[in-house]
């Protein structure tokens, strides 16, 4: 976008089209009027310029009729009918208006006889009018095709950018920076107290990050893979919280191979740690449960929490994200429930059990 030009590129190109069309048709008409007649070239040019100017009205209306009848979405017969009818109608009017102008000219001494010449050339003028109109139609279609392909390109670029943004923010949401800072602080402490554990912690953290980033790209993973990730996550948090974190798993064996969107449970377990375990002086318990029955799988993340720790902010981003992803994947088949009762907070979800990736 130029900051110097006052007019937009679209308006500029419209001006160019208008003036080129006008000059071109003036030349055609002048040649037509001057050939095999007594009309001097000077007069022929002047008259042609005026007639061409009037013809620009039909050029402009060709633009409108091209918009009304898009090339790709209009049946061929209607395309022809529309434009031929418009061409004939507009040309008829154009020649009529032209004849009124010519009669005015004919009244002058030097222009005497011009009406007669115009009369003789009426059929030729009709042909030229129709030809000019159809030329305009062709030109307009070309112009529309060009802009729409440019728009399509811009749209494709924009949507790919938006998709990447969404992916990035999803990843950002998955890896809580404070989890990283606290883990790094634990490593910092361990380097002198217990170097072997420091190294173990580095490996755990690297494994966790690698898995998280890798899983984010997949559409579906087996529950077992998600559980492996959670084991890593909890092992890292156990270094921070020690005995305050107790993890309990109740996983049905035939549920382990069920498929689910990746990182569905991880944000819930992280919530359980941040809002449950971390808020309790004596620590608490997280219970993971997976049950497969009647073609459905039910996953539950339950944790102890301190109701006195102030109103819970559990309806946070994590839970909403899980809900959105479940709905996107399973629609009405998905079910999600979050409930706080006494000292337990429970999120449970259910969706159809699938065991192998559907052919894409």
């Amino acid at each position: 976008m130029s900051s110097v030009a006052k007019t937009s590129p679209a308006v500029q190109s419209k001006h160019i089209v208008f003036w080129t069309g006008w000059i071109f048709f003036t030349l055609v008409l002048a040649a037509l009027l001057a050939s095999s007649s007594d009309l001097p070239w000077k007069h022929a040019f002047l008259l042609a310029a005026i007639l061409s100017g009037i013809a620009q009205v039909s050029a402009q209306s060709s633009f409108v009729s091209c918009r009304i009848a898009p090339l790709t979405r209009t049946p061929l017969w209607r395309l022809f009918a529309t434009h031929i009818a418009a061409a004939v109608l507009l040309t008829f009017f154009w020649v009529k208006v032209g004849s009124i102008v010519v009669v005015e000219f004919d009244a002058h001494e030097s222009w005497r006889g011009v009406a007669k010449i115009y009369q003789d050339k009426t059929s030729l003028l009709h042909a030229a009018g129709v030809f000019f109109y159809l030329l305009c139609v062709a030109f307009n279609y070309a112009l529309i095709a060009q802009t729409s392909s440019r728009e399509a390109q811009a749209r494709a670029l924009e949507s790919s950018l938006r998709a990447r943004d969404a992916e990035l923010s999803a990843l950002k949401a998955q890896i809580n920076p404070h989890f990283l800072y606290n883990s790094l602080n634990s490593i910092s402490a361990l380097t002198s107290i217990d170097p072997v554990r420091a190294r173990d912690m580095c490996v755990l953290l690297a494994d966790f990050l690698r898995m998280t980033l890798g899983l984010g790209e997949k559409a579906l993973i087996p529950l077992q893979t998600e559980l492996d990730l959670l084991d890593k996550y909890c092992a890292i948090e156990k270094v921070r919280f020690g005995d305050r974190l107790y993890l309990e798993e109740q996983i049905q064996d035939d549920a382990r191979q069920c498929l689910l969107p990746p990182l569905l449970l991880q944000p819930l377990v992280e919530n359980a740690v941040v809002h449950g375990i971390a808020q309790m002086t004596e620590g608490g318990r997280i219970r993971l449960q997976a049950i497969r029955s009647n073609g459905r799988i039910t996953l539950t993340v339950e944790n102890t929490w301190d109701p006195e720790a102030g109103p819970s902010r559990r309806n946070g981003v994590g839970l909403k994200n899980v809900q959105r992803r479940l709905e996107a994947r399973y629609g009405k088949e998905a079910q999600l429930e979050a409930k706080a009762e006494d000292d337990l907070f429970r999120v449970s979800m259910g969706f159809p059990a699938e065991t192998e990736a559907p052919a894409s």
Binding site: H178, Y181, N182, L184, N185, S186, I187, S188, A189, L190, S192, I193, V239, R240, F241, G242, A278, Q279, M280, T281, D306, E308, A309, G310, P311
Partner: protein, 254 residues
Amino acid sequence: MNAPTQKWKALIVDDEELARKLLREMLTQHPEIEVAAECANGMEAVKATAEHKPDLLFLDVQMPKLTGFDVLELIDPAGVSIIFVTAYDQFAMKAFEVHAVDYLLKPFSRDRFEAALQRAKNQKGHKPADPIALSATARPTGQFLERIVVKDGTRVTLIPVTKLDYAEALDDYVSLVTDGKKHLKQQTISGLEASLDPALFVRIHRSYLVNLERVTRIEPYGKDSRVAILSNGVKLPVSRAGYARLKSLLDDRA
């Protein structure tokens, strides 16, 4: 009461054992500083501060029950230099700088640790920052208090704001009334008002801040004033300005 060559007393407050160990280890290089106690939560910190009267307090922000900010409100700040230790940089670090306390962002280097220690030493003897003002500025903006911490003698009480019926100004103190019990806290009523959600608490009078949920009706009282009657029958005076505020708030709700 001790000899002038006495050691500096430090308290380490963090709910993570490793984080405490790290600070203790870094302090071993400073024989002039003695770690008087390690505390795993805010309650212990409040108790230990009263008991040991430390010169230096390493204070984690995110802890169960009482946060580092809560602890700050409950201790006697005279003579204590406070260094916050946290992984959360959004706790308006500017506030700490303005009030001349330092902070350490986890994980931190030894150099950064030494710099914080040096700052604390340089400030020794300066006037302590007003802990309530500090904790108010340090709180993320746009976030209202969810609970109020009060210390009655050595007992710490947490009052969820939803349980607070009303607050009454008493000179430099506010009396917080909940379930018929009164708790005194050293704070101005305007300070309290500013930290509470204005959609829930209304200043109906120069000396009274009321929980809107508790107000059952407003009755005329005398020829030019009104009283608010709470659900438990308590009557509170309503000033003319207070009535206007109450009315506009109720109109907004309707």
